[in-house]
């Protein structure tokens, strides 16, 4: 009997401990998602003062909306452009920063500092860099006699310009995770590899990279999520233009909700985003996670 009471006590304690977090989780993650699901099945825009149920009309409209598809594909290309590159670069930076003989602190600072700069400030700075004629990039291209380019005003360039800027911002952050991971690799492994006369590349391939896999997975997921979350720069730089060439899903949601006041559609779009991110999470936690953790 005492044991049961003890167990009961533990349960109560545990739930009390979790209560504060749970309240906020409920209020600001689960309840809103639930509300959004419901609202996504209603027509709630400027033409309908009272929201009314309209089944899957919002979703149908969304699938027929060219801008939606553009925005979705943009986001996927954007993820493709930023995730592998920034992760790979971060790994390279970490390897270098770990081994650098001179100015280790300088190197780490130089790579990492963009992380502490707000995206909004980053956008301001890069908007100026990318400005044709007297932006920094124009000046530099001038030196090399390459003539001017309208980086943000041309559909073919704008994505690349954005991708590069985001890589600049993010790579340093991921570098830290790799630095942490590298610390955890026991020196003995390197020593025994050295004794066998393995080349640097082989060491990397056989020792470093596999042992960093958990870090790589972790960092990739964060990078992928970020590529959907990061839209601050669009507010300052292109607002999604030209002609939606740089538009991303979250920014489209923002436009739909706060510019068009089409709440039904904004809800439907939010649900699409939530489902997408959850799907990625599922892949990581139920699929890959099992395969790459050695413990």
């Amino acid at each position: 009997m005492g044991e049961l009471r003890a167990k009961w006590k533990v349960n109560v304690y545990a739930w009390l401990l979790l209560l504060p977090s749970l309240i906020f989780l409920l209020l600001f993650t689960f309840y809103p998602v639930w509300q959004t699901v419901i609202l996504s099945f209603h027509q709630a825009d400027l033409g309908s003062p009272e929201p009314f149920f309209n089944g899957i009309d919002n979703y149908k409209q969304m699938l027929e909306d060219d801008v939606f598809w553009k925005v979705l594909t943009n986001n996927l290309w954007f993820a493709l452009g930023t995730v592998p590159t920034s992760v790979a670069l971060a790994l390279g930076m970490a390897l270098f920063a770990n081994k650098a003989l001179r100015g280790k602190g300088f190197i780490r600072t130089a790579y990492f500092y963009p992380t502490v700069v707000p995206m909004i400030a980053v956008a301001n700075i890069w908007l100026f860099i990318y400005t044709p004629e007297y932006g920094a990039l124009s000046h530099v291209m001038d030196w090399f006699g390459k003539g001017d380019m309208n980086w943000l005003g041309d559909q073919s360039n704008v994505m690349w310009a954005m991708i590069f800027m985001v890589i600049w911002k993010e790579a340093g952050y991921f570098m830290i995770f790799y630095l942490a991971g590298l610390q955890n690799i026991s020196q003995e492994l390197y020593e025994s590899a050295a004794m066998e006369g393995a080349s640097a590349w082989t060491v990397f391939r056989r020792v470093t990279f596999p042992l960093l896999m958990p870090t790589t997975m972790f960092v990739s997921i964060i990078a992928f999520t970020n590529s959907f979350k990061l839209v601050d720069h669009l507010v300052i730089m292109t607002k999604g233009g030209p002609d939606n060439a740089s538009n991303l899903l979250l920014y489209y949601i923002y436009e739909t909700a706060f510019s068009f006041w089409d709440q039904g559609m904004a809800s439907a779009l939010t649900i699409v985003m939530v489902v997408l991110l959850l799907a990625v999470a599922a892949v990581q936690f139920f699929g890959l996670d099992k395969k790459i953790h050695y413990n």
Binding site: S21, T36, T109, F128, M273
Partner: protein
């Protein structure tokens, strides 16, 4: 040879990486007429900063941001510590299910839910308040995971010893676990502060008035406020003012910053 080349390349990359920062600082101290040209002259001025300080209430923005960031951090530490202990050390009913729920927050963060959360705040009549900005972030799945991992590594014997001395569970937490997890707290604190200092979209839609507007929104509004076209010198000055504290803090404490990350076992 290859090594020398990659070395040089990486140093070069560091210079390229530094360039935007140098550029914006440079432009902010040039007189506005010279802001867009690359002539080297000895002309430097602080007039841009004076103008910016005058034109928008940056002092208020600093204060707001500071309040928001601190408020969120304190709340997060409290809620995350409690929850992490429960997950790390207690066996209880529904533990795995709840854990998955926390996981969901990691994948569906408040940033994605700006629109529905806006509606929630509206229902609570908390629009245009600093509290409103902070609330959705009070529960931090990230913090819970970090701390749980750390707590797990703390040997159970310590807790048992404390219990035998008659400590209540709250005291055990405070006396045993929290001090041992200090590096984790620092790492988490740095991530949280950095994140909320930089947060933009959410405060943008929540705040209207100057009393509640943080730095990021203030900067954006300032930069976009020129119907006459971008005033690069002033925008650069404003940008420098906004990023200065964090960059300075980072420069001074970068070793601790990075080390705490490494040692907190963030994988």
């Amino acid at each position: 040879m290859v090594r020398k080349l990659t070395s040089a390349g990486m140093y070069g990359l560091a210079v390229v990486w530094l360039f935007p920062l140098l550029w914006v600082v440079w432009t902010s101290v040039r007189p506005r007429e010279l802001a867009t040209s690359w002539t080297f002259s000895a002309d430097f001025t602080l007039a841009n900063f004076a103008k910016v300080w005058d034109a928008a209430p940056f002092a208020q923005y600093y204060f707001n941001t500071f309040l928001i960031v601190t408020g969120v951090l304190v709340a997060q530490i409290v809620t995350a510590t409690l929850a992490a202990y429960a997950f790390a050390k207690l066996r209880f009913w529904g533990r795995d299910v709840l854990f998955v729920l926390f996981l969901v927050q990691l994948m569906v963060p408040a940033d994605i839910l700006i629109f529905p959360n806006y509606n929630v705040l509206r229902d609570l009549s908390l629009l245009d308040t600093k509290i409103g900005i902070m609330l959705p972030y009070f529960a931090s799945a990230f913090g819970v995971f970090l701390l749980r991992q750390t707590f797990k590594t703390i040997p159970h014997e310590l807790e048992e010893a404390a219990r035998m001395e008659g400590c209540s569970w709250l005291q055990i937490l405070w006396r045993v676990y929290v001090p041992l997890a200090k590096p984790t707290y620092i790492a988490f604190g740095l991530v949280s502060v950095s994140y909320h200092w930089n947060n933009f979209m959410w405060p943008l839609i929540i705040t209207n008035s100057v009393e509640n507007r943080p730095l990021t929104v203030g900067l954006a509004i300032f930069a976009q406020s020129f119907e006459t076209g971008a005033q690069w010198a002033e925008v650069s000055a404003a940008t420098v003012m906004v990023i200065f504290p964090l960059v300075l803090a980072f420069l001074l404490f970068q070793r601790q910053f990075i080390n705490s990350f490494i040692h907190s076992g963030v994988k």
